[in-house]
Symmetry: C2
């Protein structure tokens, strides 16, 4: 990722503009129907020129991916790791409950819908979502999976991505299609079922 | 669903226009980038007036949902049921392999992406996708789940929707985000893991 502030030096002008743009994109995606979240609107909110935005991001999709990655970086700094109490199902349930809580917030729901739309209509954006949003999430889970694998709770044949999908995909599917209630009971059930699924 | 042809009578003019519109929408979604699949283009291809289309469908999203449901109806007539050999994992693998094969066809991939976009941007369309596309799929699986439940292979606590999600959601997630190869090996692994997940 681009970063103008190294070695703890105060962020430069370019970095400040980047952060302002990402925060403006996040705020607007939470406030407006997505078609109204234009580069123009983001530039106005961020107090930067449209040209400044286009120099860094070729289109809105690329910008939104960075905005979500930026938000997730902050969340991870605030403690995004999967807990490790020794009880895999309980630990995964904690994470899935917080995912469910996040998805219940209209602004985060709107932002993720926007991200999925961008990933669905453009292959390059999808690759960017995978690199900047999904892969870091898989990495967070991978640490916990490694411990569980050592403890004989995960089949060696189940890789980190496959295990991640067993845990997260049912929630993603239910969020996107609203096949049923997306609540803590569902989070707990999915965590429990995923553990059975990936067991040796 | 609307149906002008009852009791085996030949389809009326309105029903012929409906079918022509749905087939045109399917064909164009397979051929063109989705933004170019306009009501105007669909009307031209179907040989019907735009007004005729708008009388039946308020917007493109509603029409696309019916088009996909129409396509699935035909597929189900051609034998869309889940096989029942007594081996649940093997039977689910057969279905998931065919899902994977379908998703590898560019025209079906494009159509489903379009459908997901429509469902993501509009709540009413999402509800329509659930009713006309997802619910019939769950119903196809539910017959097989009922047999498996009688045979003690599925926990009574796992409802049809939850079981469906355990089977289908990982494939849906991988298709949408391309987290890894979407092939027969993955289909088989997901079928096997889903069976363990839903076991009593």
């Amino acid at each position: 990722m681009e970063n103008d502030s190294r070695d703890g030096a105060p962020p430069g002008r370019s970095e400040r503009a980047r952060t302002a743009t990402l925060e403006a994109a996040l705020a607007l995606a939470a406030e407006l129907p997505y078609p109204q979240v234009t580069i123009e609107a983001i530039a106005a909110r961020a107090g930067v020129g449209k040209a400044t935005i286009y120099r860094r991001w070729p289109h809105r999709g690329a910008l939104m991916v960075d905005a979500v990655a930026h938000r997730n970086d902050r969340a991870a700094t605030a403690g995004g790791a999967v807990p490790d109490t020794g009880d895999l199902a309980a630990d995964l349930a904690v994470v899935l409950r917080s995912v469910v809580d996040e998805l219940a917030r209209p602004e985060w729901d709107a932002l993720l819908r926007a991200l999925c739309v961008e990933a669905l209509v453009d292959t390059a954006t999808r690759a960017r979502v995978l690199d900047l949003v999904v892969a870091p999430q898989i990495a967070l889970f991978a640490e916990r999976f490694a411990t569980a694998r050592s403890a004989g709770r995960i089949d060696d044949a189940v890789g980190d991505t496959e295990a991640f999908e067993l845990v997260v995909a049912p929630v993603f599917h239910r969020w996107q299609l609203r096949t049923g209630p997306l609540d803590h009971a569902y989070a707990d059930a999915v965590a429990r079922r995923a553990c059975r699924a990936m067991a040796p």
